[in-house]
Symmetry: D2
Subunit: 407 residues, 4 copies
């Protein structure tokens, strides 16, 4: 456990190795946070939910941090408004790094002879940190994308290999009752529980992710101009925002902004940085639909948790090679399932009950992790969620369709 | 069929009997439409989807109406923006009434020897008209509520009787596979199909609607001030809008605005004009939850379709009497189910496919009709839907909770 | 005086002769008011500032009207928010007409043996009513312009005659001290006082108004695309609003919406319905500037108060004939003078001090009345004022330029 | 001249001595700019308007800077939108400092044997730089004020001495024709020309600035709650923004945020950081008015240009000592004069004509410089200007009133 703590915490800093002090400060939109804030907030999580509760006499590193670095835990006190995180030139980066060191020392001391509760909380804290590692990268990517010079977050970032992926086919699945949700011993978030039966109809699920090349066909066929392909809210969004391509594509659709800067668009790689509305419209255009999260989990559960995850070091989706099902890594996959509690769901007790449960409205479930998700952070039952108009995460999709009845 | 046509169309006019010319014109918010617009739009529906398609040589009453009175059927052409419906002082009310007469004459002639398709479309048109009858009343109620004088829409409206309702109890239901959705012969909307199996867990469902008196307890207990009772989006809404009571309650919570004007708040009557967020927060406060739409339909299907519907003439929710389950009428009941397609759902062909399917995102399913819904418009499988922050419809709720396992 | 009262009040009703009940209700933008509101507010002015103060025991026609029909007299009590005037379906038009009759009877009785104060107030009330007569027409014109059918406010309205106007020349004026402001016996608004000296430089002032034809040249020369012609706030406005022509011109610049409906654009007539920013940009493009209000008043004072005013019945600007200086009528002329108090200005005592003085910031002075201003309402010293982005009034301009020194 | 160039440029960097890298990046509101942007933009001014025009073969330091660091010179090309200046994490601070060095070297070389034009432009550039020095401080002050910790921009900043100021009296001035505007040989901005006669009435002008103590009386007397004291737009602003005290006062009115952090409110010091609306309302409450800019310039012209300017090192307004007239330094003084061109005003030729002239609408003239204005930057004829709701500059005021006629 102490090793694991050190590894995860160190990795957060390693991710930032190519950032300059200026890069840590700016908030590019209300949904995103400055890198500095991520560094502090993840630390606050350990301080607030472990040190302040399990270390008698612990004195906060700085009393103002409870206000500044609480994200949304109302029961833990008031918080600095999210859209104003970018106004905080102070505390300085070096003060935040001191804060990290201070808390790390205390946690590591505590982890020498930890109670079960402390271990549980620490594991939660590390999983929380891993989530913010991903957000840190996608937020800084968004920030750099708003700079007319399109600077690379990491100019040394290697490009993933590319080759024509296998033809898209569909895997037929017979309907019936299946079990989804987390059932084993390891860590999971509360929103993955309880494991419970789901009734599925016969269906087919796509053999790989939808590619840039396929998405270009949708655009060429007028996909962004045909209202009948779109959900009503999606069409309103397209009109209002003037969307005509994924978030980070160049105007001429030849290039894509990546964490390594602007690169030629790889037609073989999975399309990414698009909204639920766009995924849904594409599926309708192809006479398909998106999979439900139960359909997805049933299929993904038969795969091993490996793929183009953060460990490849590419930090960008890559073309499927023969045999790749791409359930894990590359892009978070939009499902057709609104993010909702499983039957019998109980959130964690206390403030940590605010972690997941209160967001179970107006968002769509996404599955499978992305090219910036850590390998040991994922499970088939893992649920993340975004508003249907979100595009700044590594979001993509696979197709599904109703089954013929004969599997 | 011709009788039915005449009855439904006439009833729309009858509903307006207490309105003055001025009342027909104003749009009180983007979600609502002027009464005049409802009268014209429902007529346009018959003209556009029946007369223009099934009567050769039919000439439109006015060529501009296709633009002015199309609501959201993009595939049928461009339309006047919804938030600007209230700018249309012209066409005049008497012109709209002429339009109604003109279309009625043509439809009635067609219904003398109608094809199956025409009958199908006419039935759809009448159900569409019944939906707008309800909207017409709730929209005009909203408009009158914005007038400082709080005028009565109908000063003669009788108040419903009131008496202490039976204690709230819970009906236990054993889990298993049930069937929901429309399965019979009669008319239904496409969103009620296909009938399909759903897997339900053991659960309990409230024996009646939640009352004003019960909701007052929630408020008295600080319900609107306790963030942990609320969904995150709901809490943001409460803060932003300054909500501290249902939409039409007076500031001191003694009175309620009704279609008959301001009246003393009846503690025994079902609470109404509140959002999904408020229903959900109340349920959490009571240690309960809202029913899913499948749970609701299973229970409602065992009741006959009767209750305080438009025909009572009260046009306001009424206290439950002994034995009343209140599944139909009084208020549309918020369920915990996001409005989504049933497995295998296929929208209608053509423009009418835009009727329901494209709204299957970001909204919550409501069930059971209200005190201004026509009796012959309802079915247990009937699904309506609203955004979770909507309050201007007759919206209320009943509680549910997870079952003990022993039904 | 009683005759004058009856004449002015009757004329308000006469102006509305072509309106239908529906037309009286709608508010097309926050700056405009429904016709019904104008009818009531002008009546309230007499009731509130005369009957309630000078008739002992007078009982208000309706107690709620003090709130509903107060425009901006904070010291007279709270008021219904201006942007919500269009929500008031009630009181009905016929109730407002009854209100007018009721107040008219009381005022007329009072005017049989009036005190000096009552006469003063009544004269102010009639001038106020005349201002609202003009607003009533421009507001209803704006409303009708938002209707896709572009209905005529008065389908019988005669078009003004047209012929090539005299060439634009400049009248040279020698600098020195002149007097401006109201100095005589008759009625004037407080903002026209005190009469005071102004120091003018040598200058030249245009012999007539700028025409549609001249403005078309400005457009053809790229006027709306050249940032250097514009004030900074004006350029921001052009970009934000997408302005590329005066408010009521058709997209192809061939037609203009008038109170008589859409008509071919008359190149000889004065350009109208444009903002200060547009007038200022045009002047800069021509190497000129707008006149100051003192320059304007000095010149206008040498003319008789006649021109294309409301009495012509054209209700639209008309081409200048030989000799027409067009100082009065046709269009209100933008001057380069910010609306500010004259040296030594004292507003009226009490609530009526709110009439003019509190608006002396952020607005520009306009002069000379328009084609919908009553002849007996004007004077050379008359000052009106609008925000520089306003366009819905009959606003136009004449050019001026610095003098050569030799007059 | 080379010395002067070096001094002014160096002083900009010296002003920043207490800033950390993080502080240079953030934009706290659309009106303010990041410190980094000020450093770059002032440099760009020299590069764009001198090096690119007068050094043949000069190559831009970075081609993208023309877009990034142009403020509002449309005729010099397109520019990065002002509200997005805070999104530019890159270029880095050290790159901007390199840019400054690069340009400084080229300019200094050019200044060894400069043409008259180059000298003129360089003087303009230095005056421009001095304006931005002031903005840099007021912008960073605003940024730090948005931080809940209220950090000091310079923790070492000495507090100005304080003592009861002389009683406020009024200096009587006889009316007549006076001359204002710049007439001498030295540098001035185009908006100070031409020197021209103005006609003034008898009036009296306050002997010193209005103090915090006097402003507290206005508040205690309900000044922020009495609509009749306010201009209409000002009252709307007070309601909308919830203003009840100057911008940087603490809620309890005991403390004030300064560049040295939060300090006890000094009742003897001039009130500052308030809008034109507040100054105007205070004046009305006292039965006075604000001086016109001509009245101000006439009086100030009789004083020497000295006072609490940037050189005192206090960077905050200070109590008047016996004899202090406070015309220069402490705070920019709101006048009652809308910012407008002087009669016969001609802007500079070319892009530099955009410097001042295009802002002559919707703003009010302020006079006299502030506690962060450089001594050698000021003149009696100096005109600055702000929108009437601006508060983030060191803005204050003195009173004036109409004369009794006997001076
Ligand atoms: Fe977090
Ligand atoms: Fe409809
Ligand atoms: Fe008025
Ligand atoms: Fe500048």
């Amino acid at each position: 456990m102490p090793d694991q703590y050190r590894d995860v915490r160190t990795r957060t800093i390693t991710l930032c190795k190519s950032l300059e002090t200026e890069d840590y400060v700016v908030q590019s939109m209300p949904d995103a946070s400055p890198a500095k804030w991520h560094l502090a907030h993840t630390t606050w999580f350990f301080e607030r939910f472990i040190l302040q509760q399990y270390v008698s006499g612990y004195r906060a590193f700085d009393d103002s941090y409870d206000y500044l670095f609480n994200s949304y835990y109302y029961t833990a006190g008031q918080m600095h408004p999210r859209p104003q995180r970018g106004l905080l030139a102070r505390p300085l980066l070096r003060e935040i790094l001191n804060y990290r060191n201070h808390v790390d020392e205390h946690i590591q001391r505590l982890l020498e002879f930890p109670s079960d509760e402390v271990i549980q909380r620490a594991v939660l804290g590390l999983n929380h940190e891993q989530q913010h590692q991903e957000l840190l990268l996608t937020d800084i990517k968004h920030l750099f994308s708003r700079n007319p010079a399109l600077p690379a977050v990491d100019p040394e970032l290697p490009a993933p290999p590319s080759a024509r992926p296998p033809e898209l086919s569909f895997d037929a699945v017979e309907g019936g009752i299946c079990e989804i949700g987390h059932g084993g011993d390891g860590f999971c978030f509360d929103n993955e529980t309880p494991r419970h039966p789901e009734l599925l109809a016969d269906h087919e699920i796509g053999s790989r992710l939808v590619t840039n090349g396929e998405y270009l066909e949708f655009i060429a066929d007028g996909g962004y101009r045909e209202s009948e392909l779109w959900l009503s809210d999606g069409w309103a969004c397209v009109q209002r925002e003037g969307w005509d391509r994924p978030l980070y594509w160049s105007r001429d659709r030849d290039a894509e902004f990546t964490l390594g800067g602007s690169r030629p668009l790889d037609r073989h790689a999975p399309v990414t940085h698009l909204s639920y509305y766009e995924a849904d419209a594409f599926a309708r255009w192809r006479g398909c639909r998106l999979p439900t999260e139960a359909e997805w989990e049933l299929a993904a559960g038969q795969q091993s948790v490996q793929g183009n995850l953060a460990e490849t070091g590419w930090w960008h989706p890559a073309a499927a090679r023969a045999g790749d099902r791409q359930y894990f890594g590359d892009v978070w996959e939009w499902t057709s399932s609104p993010y909702a509690p499983y039957p019998g769901f109980k959130p964690l007790e206390g403030s940590l009950g605010e972690y997941n449960g209160k967001f179970m409205c107006n968002q769509m479930t996404v599955r499978g992790g992305s090219c910036v998700t850590a390998r040991d952070h994922l499970r088939p039952s893992y649920r993340s969620f975004f508003y249907p108009d979100a595009r700044w995460q590594f979001l993509g999709f696979r197709l599904a369709r109703d089954g013929s009845g004969a599997a």
